[in-house]
Symmetry: C2
């Protein structure tokens, strides 16, 4: 309950910044062409009902408003201050705003970290924080809101109205997309430029927009995140659909993005994993961002896999069918009763199967009857309606019939998307449909993609609700002691034995391994473990144990163990005369199983991140691995097992028994908790190989590696 | 030279059909709403300069033209007859046209094979062929040509003018796309509806359009091909760029396409391979068909991989960079001298690396100077220019500066594509650029995709010129004898020994294998081959030899061979008492190598088609295989080796020596020639496994299988 209260009070502060009742414009100007002139003009243009206070030491009146020399002179309360004064003056302004009790600063001004002046930016935030003032920006276009009739930005006008709201790290893109909304007649309620994210970031905007009744889809343009885990948490908790485009997913693009915003760009696969865990639908290009925002903002999620396609043209029906398969929604034939019903409304040479092809003869009545029959049938989860402009029909008539059929069906829980292929008349009909709340596109693929996005939204939303209990403390202490001991010895990595101790402390089933410092100890250990055993050199200076002749397998008895100890030590010395040698590891010889690898990286945006894949050729040659940000839930762990290409091998390919899936899920979850718990210590780790046995027989970590973070 | 002459005379006949100097409209009508009325109106609408003869037994004059009762009554020569009379009358009409010497029939009429009346269609073609008349259709919209000012179709108007020409198997799509060309202002010179392809097919249209000076790109909408190899040959020979969309590439879509046109839809992978071999650039959706047609029709091919991206917005620059990598054109940093030159035309915080970011400060002069510098630099192979609408610049000014820079650079051999993200003003600027011959789009990804298409065109064109010598006859006789003998025995498949004989006849290196019918013969054979040997049951009734206990490996001496012979025979009898047993195959024990598989299918559209992949888990679990239509050239065979996911294994992964690539290329080429030569006999075949050794050491076919076609 108290966290709920905190959440509410946080949202109230964000309200003051993003939906201010009063605004000071610091740097307001009487000179056309100046930013301070344009901003004021824009703020006055659309009917904003809050108070506006221009601030400027040199003028008495600007654009009909009384001007104040400082915010401190304003007699009333100020929610937000829009700042356009030069960067070097911003700190002083923040100080005054703080004293005045201004709740938020919208810092349009550029010239901060984006050109290397992080010092100025840090100073600005430090001052603001002292007064509890929040900062949006700096280096932003500003904020725009249709429902508040406020354009507090230097973009020329409010966007075409719509139900999604956009948050963008690129200001140039906001200005360009603002204009594009009129061309496409696909609009936004709000456009928020987030710039350098010195204080308020995308996670804050998600939380606030999720509570905004005028926003039904949150659209994000992301270049790089600093606190990825907070972002994932905010998105997970949101009930509003979220769609995001991540710029800089290519190797070269990441470099370009880095030079552009100064943000660190994470690896594409990690972002994809994080979006998945956060329940965010992805867009791969700008058109996709527009198109998917439109669909998610207007239609309910698609709750099952049964997509139906209705068309008057076989060609576009087939293209849409191909697109459905490509987008993960392969079609199935409709049930017989639905087919029978549809056949009443088409010529004999039509098809009712799915896609249902009414043929070029289809008029508005056939469309009406079929749409109603399809949407009221239980089997159907979503509908794509296609229309090829013909000389026998008027596109607007068809559009009106479709809208009426959707209304009359009463099926408000099933998403519908429409595509009309044709000219000006079709285009007008599409715009009319969009006004009526139906996503409508110029090509069949886009209508299918709209439903794919709505299906993906339903799918990933169902995966993000799981609660993740975190295991308790004792094992963590043990792991930390092992690490501390290694650090005390001046080492940056653990030995295999130490790494296995850490793994074991977090419940990972490691092959039993004992460090022997003498022949006698080795023989004793082998006896306790039980022959046959494996013996390996333990030396922080020998990383490639096999190359050094430091590994012996299948040691069957005491004599062989003695012999192996001697050989391993002499090989190790021959390999590297000055190597520090801890001894020889005596390890149970785990029966051979399917080799998998699990490991971790410390992602610059998301922190501890788990990697999983099949071992050997699959990881080394095919790079067939998948990622998740820690902690990983059981449902996400299960998805990891199915999304690698080699998944059929785990499921039991070529007549083999399926591998132990439950043990793998447990392994991934525990591993993810381990690396999260040891976030401050572990830079990189892996268990490679892990032998996985058939269902019910578990798995065994055979080798282990942990590289520590630099202190 | 004589084939050239034939080609020319064929083109002259096609000229008469597709660019007729005189047309009879059979079924012309005076009744508005009737097809014969609409057709005549359309033919008269756009300034067609040829003669038009309406034919109708009941009228004297229609739309101001004299009407004839029959084509036989027309006093002049007739190139083509457009036919709209009911299907049942078409044969009689064809007869009269034949007698009149009409060169081509454009059969608009539907009601033929598309509704199951293949008999009517066959009859029509039979009559036409008797007179040497060619048939376009039936079941088509007609033909449209801007350069001939002729709309001989029931589509309402000629398309917006453009340089590509479209050939479509879907009539509905032609009508809808016709209207869409005005909305997009992306036009076509010609639109040809090809319908049921009873006679003239896509290959004919490719040949004719390739010689048409008004067509600079051939755009194809394909649902299914009957004579795929002829199509590949025609496309290979064309010098005009070709872009195609194949509808029905998904499993369900193929079924839908089949029910729609009656065409057999080939597997997606085979189509992809065939397009590759034919030098055809693929489009995956309708927007892609429009966008790529525009690029290919206006710009030269991109001859190298160095793509440069110039932008005024970091965000769109990064999105374009991502798109470039996704589309197979990853960016590289520009050379230092080019960067130095570009830095003169941007603020200090811009970037000259590639993408070059001029920042939002960029005006037309910076754009002009940079475009000229980039296009005149040797390193650059192609350029994408991006512009985000800003409040400081006017889109049309930028467009004009870009056009002038491109002109002034004189670089006519380097493709350029442009994207403007913005509103109405940007949209107008884009249309202006398109009129000037520069492909221009509303989002950065599409401009990058335009260059990707131009690069793909250059790449695949460089691969299709290779001449394919076909090996001579003696070996083929041997193979045919083996097959005939099996057929004579009433068998539908060859035994392993027979299949190896056929393979060997075509130069495939098979493991030496001898059929032994007695213990003595087995021992003798093993002695000749040299121990160790492998022994396997040879029985047309036992397909899974191992399951039957019919395989013994590592047979070291005569005694073991005797023993193996006895065991194999008794196991086989125990497995299947009534199996016909030919004997036991004694085979050299090939040293173990990397397992690959090569096989063939008889594709319904393209005929004999080669499949290649790595053996075992790669083919069985990962389905990691690639296809080519036979015959396969050496360059295409090399591409097959690199396009499977497991390609790094052949190249020598994990420290192993590279596999013998030359031997694999030879294997694929010879295999493809074998299946083409034996097209009438072989339904399906494979060599599995084939052991491939390191570079220079060749390969060995260890097992072989050939299934014969049903007679």
């Amino acid at each position: 309950m108290s966290s709920h209260g905190t959440h509410d009070s946080k949202l109230r502060v964000l309200d003051a910044v993003l939906r201010p009742r009063s605004i000071a414009l610091i740097g307001a100007s009487n000179t056309p062409g100046k930013l301070g002139f344009k901003l004021l003009k824009n703020m006055l243009a659309d009917g904003y009902t809050g108070k506006i206070y221009p601030i400027n030491p040199n003028d008495a009146e600007i654009q009909g408003l009384k001007v104040y020399k400082s915010v401190l002179d304003v007699p009333d309360e100020i929610d937000a201050a829009v700042i356009v004064v030069p960067a070097k003056l911003c700190t002083q302004v923040a100080e005054e705003c703080g004293k005045k009790g201004v709740k938020g600063l919208i810092v349009i001004t550029s010239g901060f970290s984006e050109i290397g002046r992080k010092d100025l930016e840090d100073e600005l935030v430090r001052v603001a924080r002292r007064y509890g003032t929040r900062v949006l920006g700096p280096n932003i276009v500003g904020i725009m809101s249709n429902s508040d009739k406020l354009n507090a930005s230097f973009a020329p006008f409010l966007p075409y109205p719509g139900k999604p709201s956009l948050v963008s790290q690129s200001g140039a893109l906001i200005v360009a997309m603002d204009a594009a909304t009129y061309l496409r007649r696909v609009g936004f309620d709000k456009m928020i430029s987030i710039g350098n994210m010195a204080d308020l970031d995308i996670a804050d905007c998600i939380e606030w927009l999720d509570a905004d009744p005028n926003t039904t889809c949150i659209s994000l343009y992301i270049e790089g995140l600093r606190n990825g885990r907070r972002f994932v948490d905010a998105a997970r908790r949101a009930r509003t659909p979220i769609v995001a485009i991540k710029a800089g997913v290519s190797a070269h693009g990441a470099a370009a993005a880095a030079s552009h915003t100064g943000s660190l760009a994470g690896a594409a696969k990690v972002y994809e994993a994080a979006f998945n865990q956060a329940g965010i639908v992805q867009a791969t290009d700008l058109n996709g961002l527009f198109d998917r925002s439109l669909a998610l903002s207007l239609q309910p999620p698609m709750r099952g896999d049964n997509l139906f396609i209705l068309t008057n043209g076989g060609g576009v029906g087939v293209l849409a069918t191909d697109a459905a398969e490509r987008l993960g929604l392969p079609l199935h034939f409709a049930p017989a009763d639905l087919q029978a019903e549809l056949r009443k409304h088409m010529p004999e040479y039509g098809s009712a199967k799915n896609p249902a092809d009414l043929t070029g003869m289809a008029g508005k009545d056939w469309y009406y009857d079929c749409v109603k029959a399809i949407l009221t049938h239980d089997w159907v989860d979503g509908l794509v309606i296609l229309y090829c402009e013909t000389s026998l029909t008027v596109p607007m008539d068809i559009a009106q019939a479709l809208h009426k059929a959707i209304q009359d069906s009463g099926a408000t829980d099933k998403p519908v998307a429409i595509a009309f292929v044709g000219g000006e008349q079709s285009s007008e009909a599409l715009h009319w449909l969009m006004e009526k709340g139906i996503p409508a596109y110029e090509v069949p693929d886009k209508a299918v993609d709209a439903l794919a996005a709505l299906r993906e939204h339903a799918r990933i939303r169902s995966l993000v609700t799981e609660i993740l209990p975190f295991p308790g403390g004792r094992s963590s202490d043990l792991a930390r002691e092992t690490i501390a001991a290694a650090r005390a010895g001046g080492r940056g990595a653990l030995t295999e034995i130490e790494a296995k101790e850490v793994f074991a402390a977090y419940g990972l089933p490691v092959a039993r391994t004992v460090l022997a410092k003498s022949e006698e100890a080795a023989v004793r250990a082998a006896g306790e473990i039980g022959f046959p055993v494996v013996m390996k050199i333990v030396s922080p200076d020998i990383l490639h144990k096999s190359d050094a002749g430091g590994v012996k397998v299948g040691i069957k008895d005491a004599e062989a163990a003695q012999e192996a100890f001697r050989t391993i030590l002499s090989n190790a010395k021959a390999y590297k005369a000055d190597a520090a040698i801890h001894g020889v590891a005596v390890q149970e010889m785990a029966p051979f199983g399917t080799e998998v690898i699990i490991g971790s990286v410390d992602d610059p945006s998301f922190g501890p991140t788990v990697m999983f894949g099949l071992g050997g050729i699959f990881v080394e040659v095919l790079k067939d691995v998948t990622f998740r940000v820690a902690p990983v839930s059981s449902t996400q762990a299960e998805r990891m097992l199915t999304e690698i290409q080699a998944a059929p091998i785990l499921a039991g390919a070529r007549g083999e028994a399926p591998r132990d899936k439950d043990a793998l899920v447990q392994l991934i979850m525990n591993y993810s908790r381990m690396i999260l718990d040891l976030e401050s210590e572990v830079a990189e780790s892996d268990a490679n190989p892990v032998f996985v046995y058939e269902k019910g027989k578990g798995l065994k970590v055979v080798d282990a590696r942990i590289i520590l973070k630099k202190t």
